[in-house]
């Protein structure tokens, strides 16, 4: 891990000497070598020494690092201090006990009040990681109100990564009351206008958490909700990988507070050139945001998507049409007609997916769309996926009284009984019995046939 560090450049030439001196056996020499570089007049060299020190993971050397590290944590130059903060985290990784015994945790805590924001940011990150890794499971350093105040002050002046560290640390803090939550919200909302997507998302995370505490004050919650929508939408114009992360987060936001984005359906329409992972996530969110107001647009789009090239995407689009029908009742009629059109295209996986979805629609709205059953039966032969076959069987069984040749259809299924998937076999059993209950006279043989197939020759205990 440390091999790549020792390249010769004039700046790092000094480190080569350090390494050679450390490899010597004389204890005194080792101590001196480490001390010398940490006391160099050039702050760049001092910082480099601290950084390199932390990467040397040899037990014998580690004890000698403590004194210089302690000095560097109090160094006058902020660059050295910030590097030293990270070094404490490195030391914790090597030997947690040493960090705790030597009082470095307290020194790190002091750095949280440092005048330089970058030092504060690094100290926060080091402390967060130490807290997470702590063996006892309890956080070793508690966050309290004055600390939070210092962090918020540093927030304004840090680099973008420092802001991400501080916001993430804030998301672990629970404010005492609504007033404190409110004041933290005020100080964080400007971050939503930052160019770095990670800063925006971390700010959203903290705000969502704080909004829980403020749920009594509906006016405030509404203002915050309105402020959250535009930055989330802007994130979707970023690079595709960042879009993907943003979409996954937006999915959660929409599940918790659907009204934040309820007017922004258009933004989630899939573009032809989006990578497949972005398309799938956008589709998911579209379904969550579907409502009576925008269902016409959504259905139009879903129909377009069902004619695309990628198989997974098309299936998901067809399934989405079904979910919309179930979610938004007045639109069910239109959804069903769209699905019928798609079945007419005779594209194999589209037809199969459509049948599965139509079964779900029948279950939700019984006795409403039976006119289409004849169309469905025409496509029986093309079904080869178990889920589609099982759905078809269920439909036949459920609406047996409307289908004249229901017994013939089920018979054709029974011919290949043993080749069928267990799911389909179970459905067949149920369907035949339903048929028997509705038309006892004609179907007696059928029932006996299926029962014998199921009990005598089958291995599946559920079936028997």
């Amino acid at each position: 891990m440390t091999d790549s560090k020792y390249f010769t450049t004039t700046k790092k030439g000094e480190i080569f000497e350090l390494k050679s001196e450390l490899n010597s056996d004389k204890k005194e020499k080792k101590k001196e070598a480490v001390k010398k570089d940490c006391e160099d007049s050039n702050p760049l060299i001092r910082a480099l020494a601290v950084r390199t020190m932390g990467c040397i993971r040899v037990d014998k050397i580690t004890e000698y690092l403590c004194e210089p590290l302690r000095k560097c944590l109090k160094d006058e130059d902020p660059y050295v201090r910030k590097t030293a903060a990270v070094c404490v985290a490195k030391l914790y990784d090597i030997s947690a006990s040493m960090v705790e015994d030597q009082g470095f945790l307290d020194q790190l805590k002091d750095l949280l009040s440092d005048s330089n924001p970058m030092v504060v940011a690094n100290a926060v990150e080091a402390l967060s990681e130490i807290n997470e890794a702590s063996v006892s499971g309890q956080p070793l350093v508690e966050m309290n109100a004055p600390t939070i105040n210092k962090l918020l002050t540093a927030l304004n002046e840090c680099t973008e990564w420092g802001q991400v560290f501080i916001l993430d640390a804030l998301s672990n803090y629970s404010p005492r009351d609504a007033r404190e939550a409110h004041s933290i919200c005020e100080r964080i909302t400007p971050r939503l206008a930052h160019a770095n997507a990670a800063v925006v998302l971390s700010a959203v995370k903290v705000l969502m958490k704080l909004m829980e505490m403020l749920s009594d004050d509906t006016e405030l919650v509404n203002t915050l909700s309105r402020k959250l929508a535009p930055p989330l939408v802007t994130l979707l114009s970023a690079e595709p990988e960042v879009q993907y992360v943003a979409l996954r987060n937006i999915n959660l936001v929409v599940q918790k507070r659907p009204d934040i984005l309820k007017h922004e359906m258009k933004v989630f329409f899939v573009k032809y050139n989006d990578p497949i992972y972005v398309k799938l996530e956008k589709l998911d969110i579209m379904i969550r945001l579907a409502s009576q107001a925008n269902i016409a647009q959504v259905l139009g789009e879903l129909k377009e998507y069902a004619t695309e090239v990628d198989v997974d995407f098309v299936r998901k689009a067809v399934r989405a049409i079904g979910r919309c029908a179930i979610k938004v009742e007045p639109s069910a009629e239109r959804c069903v007609s769209t699905l019928l059109e798609l079945i007419q295209t005779k594209v194999n996986y589209v037809v199969q997916e459509a049948i599965v979805v139509i079964k779900d629609i029948f279950r939700k709205y019984p006795n409403k769309y039976e006119s289409i059953i004849s169309t469905l039966c025409e496509n029986l032969d093309t079904l080869d996926e178990p889920e589609a076959r099982a759905s078809m069987v269920w439909i036949v069984g459920e609406y047996a009284e409307r289908i004249d040749n229901a017994d013939e259809l089920l018979d054709s299924f029974l011919e290949g009984f043993y080749d069928e998937n267990a799911q389909v076999q179970l459905q067949l059993l149920t369907a035949v019995v339903k048929l028997f209950l509705k038309r006892p006279a004609d179907t007696q043989e059928l029932v006996q046939h299926v029962l014998s197939l199921a009990t005598q020759d089958s291995d599946n205990p559920d079936l028997r």
């Binding site: 891990m1 790549s4 560090k5 390249f7 450049t9 004039t10 700046k11 007049s41 050039n42 702050p43 760049l44 910082a47 130059d77 902020p78 660059y79 990270v86 985290a89 990784d93 924001p117 970058m118 030092v119 990150e125 997470e132 304004n156 002046e157 680099t159 973008e160 990564w161 991400v164 560290f165 993430d168 400007p190 971050r191 206008a193 930052h194 160019a195 770095n196 997507a197 990670a198 925006v200 971390s202 535009p230 930055p231 939408v233 802007t234 114009s237 690079e239 960042v242 993907y244 992360v245 943003a246 258009k266 933004v267 573009k271 990578p275 992972y277 647009q297 004619t307 090239v309 594209v347």
Partner: protein, 440 residues
Amino acid sequence: MIGGLFVYNHKGEVLISRVYRDDIGRNAVDAFRVNVIHARQQVRSPVTNIARTSFFHIKRANIWLAAVTKQNVNAAMVFEFLLKIIDVMQSYFGKISEENIKNNFVLIYELLDEILDFGYPQNSDTGVLKTFITQQGIKSASKEEQAQITSQVTGQIGWRREGIKYRRNELFLDVLEYVNLLMSPQGQVLSAHVAGKVVMKSYLSGMPECKFGINDKIVMEAKGKGNGGLSGNTDSDPARSGKPVVVIDDCQFHQCVKLSKFETEHSISFIPPDGEFELMRYRTTKDISLPFRVIPLVREVGRTKMEVKVVLKSNFKPSLLGQKIEVKIPTPLNTSGVQLICLKGKAKYKASENAIVWKIKRMAGMKETQLSAEIELLETDTKKKWTRPPISMGFEVPFAPSGFKVRYLKVFEPKLNYSDHDVIKWVRYIGRSGLYETRC
């Protein structure tokens, strides 16, 4: 935090490998290569999980950049950071390519040391990094210079150093907008938005405070109300009084802009970095003037012929010229030949892209032109209908389609003796096509 960073070329060979944490083993490098780079299917997700280790990757120009971690890390930060690394590398040695990376690997390792200490991202601002990580060996700097460098890296104004001097104080503002459109075959706008950015090139002495004013609706309304109160005129709607406004849905600023001031008074004030930088990004969806309108007409004659007619209308002031206009009309995969007639520009059928590409060098506003094509198809027996991809357009126009206008940029440098009037200011507007598509 980030446990390791790997850079691979398109064949999967490792160019750069840097591991920061012990829990990332040697086999992580190979795991990524086998499971992602050499996987048979196309990439389904930028995040891959193999054996409890997460691999975040981006692929640009045949180079794969992967960050590895076993901890629960902030995903957005990792991706933004990977994009930043690409920016920094491009700023140092130009194009990202296997050759450039191999030639500069010492520099890259130094950079990775500095900007990703123990897996925590540190200050990655290119201007600052260049002051102390140089491609030649560093000359020994004096004590003041060293202190200056460190204070700049960690400082509040970490993006500009003191003591800059220019004889001619100048600044250039480029307003670059990308118009994105999705139009239905019937001419209805399904979705349209403009993503714009303001790039500033500043050659100013000292540490000047700048204030930037635009015709943003919120600001104009506030001004209108103020003036209305004074003159007794109750008409405070700027649109009615004749001044055009732009309604900005959302905007994001460079880290030098004082965000708290923007939140309270909606004013954009900042101390700019020296040279070129992106000041702000914004997005608008209302009142966009679409520079071009594409009207497609597709007719299928039997199974062997297709007639396509495309009318292109330009919708802006006649005195302005649109440039680099390109209309791409997709054709079916079983096309055997195409006959083209176009009144303006040049049109060619490109079999490799399955499209007719129609290029027009220049077109003035309020003009109309058209292209007709007869496409001959080979007989096929596949029943699958050709899904018509949308017609896409490319262009460049010398105005901002969103209506964005720069009202002022004032410069205050109290310590040096030049005032706002002494600064030479240039503004230009460039509107480009983003994803400008019409379904057909």
